[in-house]
Symmetry: none
Subunit: 215 residues, 4 copies
DNA sequence: CATGAATGAGCATTCATTCAT
DNA sequence: TATGAATGAATGCTCATTCAT
């Protein structure tokens, strides 16, 4: 099956992104693997990308902007995939479990990205007005949607504030993987998801009714 | 038994910290209320404290060190108070509830401190080898201790990994208060603690067995 | 044979050094005439050169580096010329005399350079691993080569350690010109060379065999 | 023979030097063994001496002054001893040989002092008006005196400029020991003196008249 | 005689940024 | 589209120095 030639020059939206731009974004991605963002300078990026410093200005107005551009790409790709992952899953509980698994799995495969998300980006001035934050909100909105639906359908308890539950899910996932991300150990999405769901969904107190025959 | 008078003014070891040192620490605390740490310069601090820039260097070897010194003070004061708060409380569940309440209450009253803890300090190079981190670990150790004890005494389920549960508690608290901290809204420790405990301790799924008569 | 025109403007490898670099090196040379190196600051150099301070850093990684660059230039030019001067001279004695004369003559015409060589550069940390020192060694090697050859050919005494003789030649030249260099008086290469050779080559003790009819 | 008690408090010239002053000078001496003078700061000295920085000001007006004070002590002690060493020695040649030996021997035993003399002190602004330089001149004057006397008495050749010969002696000694001083190797005063005298006093050219059967 | 506290001034260094080509 | 040259502006930091005690 022949490759369609229109790949070369798509008319409207993106007429083949200039090579310099790509090289710059790749350079930042590579550097983020080595050091923290605030320690990365324009000349670092330029040197790594093999382009002139001045060229970065052509494409990105400042370094934050560049970082957000890089993050946006990873983030929206993830959200798109997550949406597809959730297709066909039934019930709030199952959906949340799937979402947790997908998220941890993504953190596991894109560690650099996770680290920046947890440690760097949040304290940028203006982050909460950024495009990146918008996508994060979209993601958080998905969680909230599932919870709301679960409550509406009687699957989840009414006496739990949905937004707080969402925050717990977010915080639980984040802190569940944080040590692994920081000290560079594998994340084990399956087990972590399983245990996380047990804590959040079920009763953690030992009761006769609980099936707690050891782990 | 009368308190010996020499307790008042001990000659040798701790002859009242120099006023400049205090002014500098206070200045940093004040500035942190206005802007993020990385945007605070030596001259900012010196100007706010009303001392010479070089004096900062006399007492603190670099700006990280100064921040850690400030954090350490708040942190250890909190851990001390928390220890006292937990005295006399019986059972893992009650202890954890108390700990959650105390923590959120502290976040509420020391918002600057909370913000730095969540957003700034974690991505300092060398944070994980710092004195500050040591105290954070001590705090995390308290949680783990309660959980372990709960499991041992049969109060908590055996099939939940203690460390993960601790991470969930930490993450849940953090993300429960994060929006309030960032957008400067009151934290409502009572309600938040109540809901958090419900999510973590109880079954969030709607069941006949659950007392879920709406809220 | 006509000189090829492309020699004038070579496209690739050495496309005429940037004007700023030249201005900076000239500025340092000028300043060294006025004050000692350690008293020269970046802003001195920048002001004298008429460029921005940051530009110095672009071309030279630190001030030592800049000085060495300047020295290296003078030094290697001298060593090249010295090599040419010695061409065709026969015999160790004649060669050493020529070398002494050339050296003193160079000291005389490049006094700034001489002063730095005698007074400054030697106590730089890392001088003995520098490029400058390497050229100085090359020069010292030339002296040693002449001496060794002289001994081998029976022209010089066997019972004199060659390296020590070289050191004496170096020290004698240096201290012979030092007062003139420091107090800014002419060096008189001809007479100095003559007297130096008499002291080193001949017997300084008054004997019947010496032709010592007064000076 | 009992120690006379007046050693304790001599009335006029020096009523027991204050302990702080001694500690400071010792501290500088110790530091000079580790690093070069220009890298030594007041606080270095104060810390090493175990005194307050402000105290140094009581005794020395600046760091140069302090260094010169230290040097002066070593230097004048040396000149005094040298004077005694030369007592009873007859003839210019013998006196010069003795002076060379004493000098190299001193360099050998006081290496720190030698290093500073060769590498540091000479390029201090104002060195040539310093007390230290005065003593150096006194020393140089001794050499010149011996030479002049040698010429006057017909022991040395008339056609050699005395001052230049003195410079050669100074330069020869300095460069003879310089490598050893810098790279920290033993100086071997006996052999070095012997060879130095051979080079300076005798004919270095191989002749039938020369006794050059040794190695 | 000795010290702790505090200061003024300056320095090397680095960074983001902007031209002209 | 891409670059080499050059700049303005800070910043952290260090040092010698001076009080009051």
């Amino acid at each position: 099956m022949p490759i369609p030639p229109q790949e070369q020059e798509r008319p409207g939206e993106s007429t083949s992104p200039p090579p310099g731009r790509l090289k710059i974004m790749d350079a930042l991605r590579a550097l983020l693997r080595e050091k923290e963002f605030s320690a990365i300078t324009w000349s670092d990026i330029a040197r790594t990308a093999g382009v002139n410093e001045a060229l970065i200005y052509k494409y990105f107005k400042d370094s934050r902007n560049l970082l957000h551009e890089v993050l946006k790409e990873s983030l929206s790709r993830f959200v798109r995939r997550l949406n597809r992952d959730l297709k066909g899953v039934q019930g709030a509980r199952n959906k949340l479990r799937k979402l947790i698994w997908s998220t941890i799995d993504m953190y596991d495969s894109e560690r650099v990205f996770a680290k920046i998300l947890f440690l760097e980006v949040r304290n940028f001035p203006g982050y909460f007005r950024s495009e990146t934050y918008r996508i994060v909100q979209e993601y958080a909105g998905m969680i909230l949607g599932i919870i709301d639906e679960g409550i509406r359908k009687g699957e989840l308890r009414r006496d739990i504030p949905p937004k707080l539950l969402r925050q717990v899910v977010l915080g639980a996932m984040e802190h569940a993987v944080l040590p692994g991300i920081i000290f560079d150990k594998p994340l084990r999405p399956d087990q972590t998801t399983e245990a996380l769901c047990r804590i959040i969904f079920e009763d953690i107190l030992a009761r006769p009714s609980n099936r707690q025959q050891g782990h």
